[in-house]
């Protein structure tokens, strides 16, 4: 016979204000199977827990019910206390009489009766609780970092510096990401390349980092501590071991007019190229779509001039399988372009801004490339249309962002600051020019951020105009910008030479596909979701996968770096143990009843269900049944609900327990 102990918490006054806790304790004391019941002001406090432990030992209790707040809040606390008193922690359950009762009711009498019912149900349930052993899984102490921008670089360096091997995978030919494209960075105006490239070199030289550039994630299998990742290394057409990075091939390549994506297509590159001179690795790639050899079978000049003979037209895509224990996702962002309407994009387009057809209407990243000393203009601000220096430049904020009906509802977060920076860079480079900014709000929360923005106005003489632009159109070689100043309450018109749009920060293209491969969740914009917005901001709901940088939502560099280091710290926490302990709230298959329909496998969001063959002693196959990998199972219970033969049970939430609870009502 079980001896159940019930502990009713007042939660200060949160519960006792509406629920007569003494009465609940005395009523539940009469319930069959309950050996002990009491109440206390703060059950979660140290004296409260001591009371619980003492009662377990003195009353020889076998099962525990704590009637207090939500199990999300304190289940772990009480299970730990129960374990310390010598009981299996999974013999302790919580009855929620705060969120489910006292907080939502006013009538004291009725609330008290409801609380008695809730506690009674949990008593019936806990009677059927089984002793569950903690699950342990081995941990492979290597990690995968997806994305070689500043987030990926920082995470990789931090993990590698702790002595664990890192595999860094980057889709582009070079690591560096968007930060390598920037000219100077707010709020200190230090040169992005100067702070970025040394880190890129550190990655390349680190003995613990294995770098795969021009590579993509093909397949992810396994679970926390035990992932198998298949990486597709795309054919570079240049042997990385032989290439010395001398660059002769690039000077000789006859295809010289290919728009360089790294320079936002305003600079040109050859068909065999490195995206920018400081690229890591400094090994060129042949762009097969534009290469004469691949188009016509003639040319091959690069192969002829290459001293070490590194150019290899026959190279094929390769698949590499790596075993890792943790994954950091750092795929970053992409800028919305008003020139296109991406398939399935929520953004409706900006006809009033000419759909991106006006050549001197550019986006923020293009301005960065114009302002960058290593950019296509050598750091001079010149119009893409005629190469003239713009004397009147207009910046417009919130293009796409903060426009529910137009595009997306969120704030892109970095635009206010980078536009303030742009006005400064412009003022430094074009002394007789004037910068205007149309804005709705200036959002500058961050260390030294507001001061930076004010500086752009007070010292660098940018004219900020609060109010949005309704329309802009080409008139001669000018762009007429029609806006309004809502502080004055009049329409404003500016004839600008150039317009820079602060377009929305969006996730990388293909973010959803990667998320599906990884089995992580994402929001409607395809930003990856964290496990808890406040308390678990760098972890995915899927165990063993962590987030860093703008793939989770718009972020600036300081924030990205912080999160990358945080993700690295989470990986290190995981790697600090040889075996990983997991809660044993997982599904189990009763093999005798399983008919092998695998409906459960289809609905499992975590890929936890495997196929298991059952053979007799002679080795003849009897049947194939479902098997739940306890290392992967997250205990959501979807399989249990789906199973047509009722052969799946979720430990701690078995049908028997649920029925017992209903019957107790």
């Amino acid at each position: 016979m079980s001896r159940i102990g019930v502990f009713i918490c007042h939660c200060g006054e949160n519960i006792s204000r509406t629920v007569d806790v003494e009465r609940v304790a005395s009523e539940i004391g009469k319930h069959p199977g309950v050996a002990f019941s009491t109440d206390y002001k703060y059950m979660c406090s140290d004296p409260g827990q001591t009371l619980l432990k003492k009662a377990i030992q003195e009353q020889k209790l076998t099962h525990i019910v704590v009637a207090a707040c939500s199990p999300r809040m304190h289940e772990k606390t009480f299970r730990k206390a129960v374990e310390a008193a010598g009981l299996n922690p999974f013999l302790c359950e919580m009855a929620n009489i705060r969120e489910h009762c006292s907080w939502v009711h006013e009538n004291r009498e009725e609330a008290t009766l409801k609380a008695i019912d809730i506690v009674g149900m949990m008593v019936e349930r806990v009677k059927k609780n089984r002793i569950l052993p903690t699950i342990t899984v081995p941990v492979t102490k290597r990690s995968l970092v997806i994305g070689g921008g500043i987030a990926g670089i920082q995470a990789a360096l931090d993990i590698a510096d702790c002595g664990h091997e890192v595999i860094l995978v980057e889709r582009e030919p070079s690591i560096g990401g968007h930060m390598a494209q920037l000219s100077e960075t707010f709020p200190t105006l230090d040169c992005s390349q100067c702070i970025m490239t040394p880190k890129m070199v550190d990655v390349a030289n680190h003995p613990k980092i294995k770098l795969y550039t021009y590579s993509e994630i093909e397949l992810v299998e396994g679970y926390i501590g035990n992932f198998q990742v298949t990486i597709k290394k795309k054919a570079r057409s240049v042997d990385e071991d032989k290439c010395t990075g001398c660059g002769v091939c690039m000077t000789k390549c006859p295809q010289k007019k290919i728009p360089n994506k790294f320079d936002q297509n305003i600079g040109m590159r050859t068909a065999i190229y490195v995206p920018f001179p400081q690229a890591v690795p400094n090994t060129p790639v042949i762009d097969r779509e534009n290469c004469t050899w691949f188009k016509t079978g003639k040319c091959g000049i690069c192969q002829k001039v290459c001293g070490p003979g590194a150019v290899d037209f026959e190279q094929q895509d390769r698949l590499i399988v790596e075993a890792v224990g943790a994954i950091v996702v750092a795929t970053g962002f992409d800028l919305y372009s008003i020139a296109e309407k991406p398939k399935g994009s929520p953004i409706k387009g900006y006809g009033e801004f000419g759909h991106g057809k006006i050549p001197d209407v550019i986006d923020g990243m293009t301005f960065e490339r114009l302002a960058s000393a290593s950019g296509p203009t050598g750091g001079r601000i010149l119009r893409p249309s005629d190469g003239k220096e713009p004397k009147q430049i207009v910046f417009i904020q919130c293009i796409g962002s903060r426009a529910r009906e137009k595009g997306i509802s969120y704030c892109s977060k970095v635009c206010c600051m980078y536009t303030a920076k742009h006005t400064m860079l412009y003022h430094h480079k074009v002394h007789d020019g004037q910068a205007y900014v149309f804005f709705m709000d200036a959002r500058t929360p961050g260390k030294s951020y507001d001061e930076f923005w004010r500086r752009s106005i007070e010292e660098e003489e940018a004219v900020y105009i609060r109010g949005m632009v309704s329309r802009l159109y080409q008139k001669g070689d000018k762009i007429v910008v029609m806006g309004s100043d809502i502080a004055v309450g009049v329409q404003v018109e500016i004839e600008a030479d150039m317009v820079v749009l602060a377009t929305a920060v969006m996730p990388q293209k293909g973010a959803d596909t990667l998320a599906q491969k990884l089995g992580i969740s994402y929001d409607k914009y395809h930003f990856y979701s964290e496990a808890h917005a406040k308390l678990r901001p760098v972890e995915c709901a899927t165990a063993g996968i962590y987030l860093a940088g703008a793939c989770q939502g718009p972020k600036d560099i300081p924030e990205t770096v912080s999160q990358a280091s945080a993700a690295a710290a989470k990986v290190m926490t995981l790697f600090s143990k040889d075996k990983l302990e997991r809660e044993p709230i997982v599904a189990r298959v009763r093999e005798i009843g399983c008919v092998g329909c695998f409906a459960c496998k289809k609905v499992c969001a975590y890929g936890a269900i495997e196929e298991k063959e059952i053979r007799d002693r002679q080795g003849n196959l009897i049947k194939v049944v479902a098997y739940v990998n306890p290392g992967v199972c997250a205990g959501c219970g979807t399989c249990q609900a789906t199973c047509p033969s009722k052969s799946v049970e979720l430990d701690g939430y078995t049908d028997e327990q649920i029925v017992a609870m209903i019957e107790a009502l």
């Binding site: 004397k391 009147q392 004037q434 205007y436 004010r454 106005i457 007070e458 003489e461 004219v463 105009i465 609060r466 100043d485 502080a487 004055v488 309450g489 009049v490 329409q491 404003v492 018109e493 500016i494 004839e495």
Partner: protein, 194 residues
């Protein structure tokens, strides 16, 4: 007042005038971020077509003509509530002062405003008589401003109380006063005074 569209360019933004205002008021209009606290506390704001915050905003955009066209600067009572409470130390009361001073010579409609006319007549009287001759001031103002009967009925009352004299009396040291005027005029010519 009709709200004209504002065409902004380096030409239409008269920064020089604003610099003058800033120098006179010993403050910076660029510091203002349009929180509106000045207008919130201004006792005269309800009478102004451009409330104090908008006066600063127009100066930020170099649109001082729009400010001087209106009467806001003349309604300002110089109570300095705005300057006292401003989070950015924009000395708005001083700016109003500076604008009033600069409006004397500024081109534009402020020249024809009644305030400016009254000020001119006031000083003319001082120059002629060495002190104020209210009867003449009122009469000339009414004629020049075309409001012949303005406040006419106040005349007898003021006369009866001895507040208004029928005939003028001259200051004995008229030549000294003339010296002040000529000195200021010369200084103004040289640009030493406003």
């Amino acid at each position: 007042m009709k709200k004209k569209k504002m065409v902004i360019s380096q030409e239409t933004m008269d920064v020089d005038f604003v610099r003058k205002v800033e120098a006179l008021a010993d403050t910076s209009v660029r510091r203002c971020f349009q929180c509106g606290k000045c207008s919130a506390g201004c006792p005269m704001a309800t009478f102004m077509e451009h409330p104090p915050n908008r006066v600063v905003r127009l100066l930020q955009l170099g649109q001082w003509r729009r400010v001087l066209e209106g009467r806001s600067i003349w309604y300002c009572a110089s109570c300095e509530t705005c300057s006292t409470r401003c989070p950015n130390k924009v000395q708005l009361a001083s700016i109003m002062d500076a604008l009033r001073k600069l409006s004397w010579d500024a081109e534009g409609p402020s020249k024809e405003s009644y305030v400016q006319l009254a000020n001119k007549l006031f000083l003319q009287n001082i120059r002629t008589y060495g002190r104020q001759y209210e009867m003449r001031l009122a009469a000339v103002f009414n004629v020049k401003s075309g409001q012949f009967l303005k406040d006419l009925m106040l005349g007898p009352k003021l006369l009866a109380k001895g507040k208004l004299k029928m005939f003028h009396s001259k200051n004995k040291n008229l030549s000294e006063i003339e010296k002040i005027f000529t000195r200021i005029e010369e200084m103004r010519k040289k640009g030493e005074a406003l």
